[in-house]
Symmetry: C3
Subunit: 257 residues, 3 copies
Amino acid sequence: MNYTLNSIPERPVKPRERGFTMAMDKGLSIREVEDFLEVAGEYVDIVKLGWGTSFVTPNLKQKLEVYRAAGIPTYFGGTLFEAFIVRNQFDDYRRVLDEFGMTFAEVSDGSLEMPHDEKCEYIAKLSEQVTVLSEVGSKDAEKIIPPYMWIKLMQAELEAGAWKVIGEAREGGNVGLFRSTGEVRSGLVEEILTQIPFEKILWEAPQKAQQVWFIKLLGANVNLGNIAPSEVIPLETIRLGLRGDTFDHFLNMEKPC
Amino acid sequence: MNYTLNSIPERPVKPRERGFTMAMDKGLSIREVEDFLEVAGEYVDIVKLGWGTSFVTPNLKQKLEVYRAAGIPTYFGGTLFEAFIVRNQFDDYRRVLDEFGMTFAEVSDGSLEMPHDEKCEYIAKLSEQVTVLSEVGSKDAEKIIPPYMWIKLMQAELEAGAWKVIGEAREGGNVGLFRSTGEVRSGLVEEILTQIPFEKILWEAPQKAQQVWFIKLLGANVNLGNIAPSEVIPLETIRLGLRGDTFDHFLNMEKPC
Amino acid sequence: MNYTLNSIPERPVKPRERGFTMAMDKGLSIREVEDFLEVAGEYVDIVKLGWGTSFVTPNLKQKLEVYRAAGIPTYFGGTLFEAFIVRNQFDDYRRVLDEFGMTFAEVSDGSLEMPHDEKCEYIAKLSEQVTVLSEVGSKDAEKIIPPYMWIKLMQAELEAGAWKVIGEAREGGNVGLFRSTGEVRSGLVEEILTQIPFEKILWEAPQKAQQVWFIKLLGANVNLGNIAPSEVIPLETIRLGLRGDTFDHFLNMEKPC
């Protein structure tokens, strides 16, 4: 840190299981990645190349190399996995992961219908090849999943081999964990945490109000995802109580978490 | 493309009359333009220097040169044309276009009152000098133009020499083609297309929901404009069905358009 | 300017007391600062490193140097001052200002409770060391300050040594001067200006609609702050009547202000 402030919440160092930040790259140039990492390299733990953007970005191999050199793992968004599945091209997907040297992958079913057993099989198979993040929650605002079902799905996916499960929010933060207004479905989050370990969940929280909500409820070291590159520094200050939104949240705690 | 996916909508190559993307530069630096073109150069067909931003950006000549070297035409926003007209400086405007080597220009009447005959004369005169895009629709949310009038105006402007006509939306996407909520005036769009050829219209659609709406209605290769540079890659994935919003739109079509 | 347009509002040159623009850097990389200054260096008068972002950005000293070399003063956001105060570390704060060669500082009480006498003492003490901007208005949307109190607080802070007072809006523009909808509390602004000199106030106006509102009410050369770096050029065009929003505002004035 650039100077000393007392009573700042402790943050684990990388590699960490708690307090990590997943950022979303939806088409950065090489220099933009370098700029992002210059500023936020210490604070970002993993980067998702959003949905199918990796199909069209011409700088893909070189970009993956820049992240790799900085020690930041990357993975393709779950929608890309689904795009291969819906076309019956799972084997092609596995080859693509190898070809690009990917060590992480996401399994999701946000845009298609898939029996949950089948999803868990994909998690199991991909887990032999890479570290798997699996995502629960539909991108369709109409599909409401009740809390007990979120828990059941998450447990099954962790058992199938997922490293962490992701709570779906989309880039806009208006489905899954969130009401269409962007408001967090708070009872849902609390109930999930009675059954699933804190560090096993990565909460998608692209909007500031959502990040604040999770940090106030779950502490500085909640795992948060879908963060825009330019918002990683602002998020770090929210984690540390150095932005108005959480300014007094950590001050009177016996042990900042 | 970086890997092979089946049943992806076909996209024409440049120069194209359909499926083209107009992006808006509202003050990029030289390096930002280079970064933008590294990533999206293949997907962007023309760049508008938004409204009067070209008046104040100190890097103008050099920036135009970067776009030119990449084969991407540029033009000054229609509000700049209007700023010259309202000051009775049309001849100055023509000299400015020459001085900066512009090969495209926009004629619009979004911020001033102008008899339509006079607008068509400007289109005709400028067409002798450059390729003209003309814009229909007011920036004033209070001025509602009925569908038959949109059609009549567009037809007259094309006859006067406009290469394409633009449906006005502003950067914020809340006037002209759109209700103040950002919702598309869908009956209007459908009626326009009964009379004006598909490839002759460039729809301003700065917001993602609008892009999705046009692509679902008019296919992958609808002409869209006012796209932020960082949204050109996301837009391309929406065109290809590789983002959740259009994921299953192209899958069951006999002939993807 | 790149070409000549008649009847453009006059803008004072730097250093200026009126018509100045404060931009907010919330974690730019070195290259991003260079890009920002290439484009907008002439139009930005001072840069705030937002809230506590300076605590976590690894490139701080080098970044301050880039701004310094371009002749743009910088200061740490008021929330950082408050973070030191709430921890009883005021002397540390003064040392930090020295260590980083800061010549400006902000005194605010947006996130904590502080007797106004005490706030004025901080302004007085810091004024011996740096040029002080002080901020009036709570970040808490629930705390409504009546107009006579805004005036009283502003007068006292100017008397205590503040160079300018800032009207609080936060980055999101939804508290202080603004209703939760982002709408400006217009009666408040007008009443303040009956008592406090125009050039002594810096209005936070991060959203375009707010910038337009202030420029229409107070002219091209109102002091505006919390402007995103990429919005400095667009703001300049709004000041000059070269964007639709203020297109005809300056045209019929006898003396553009």
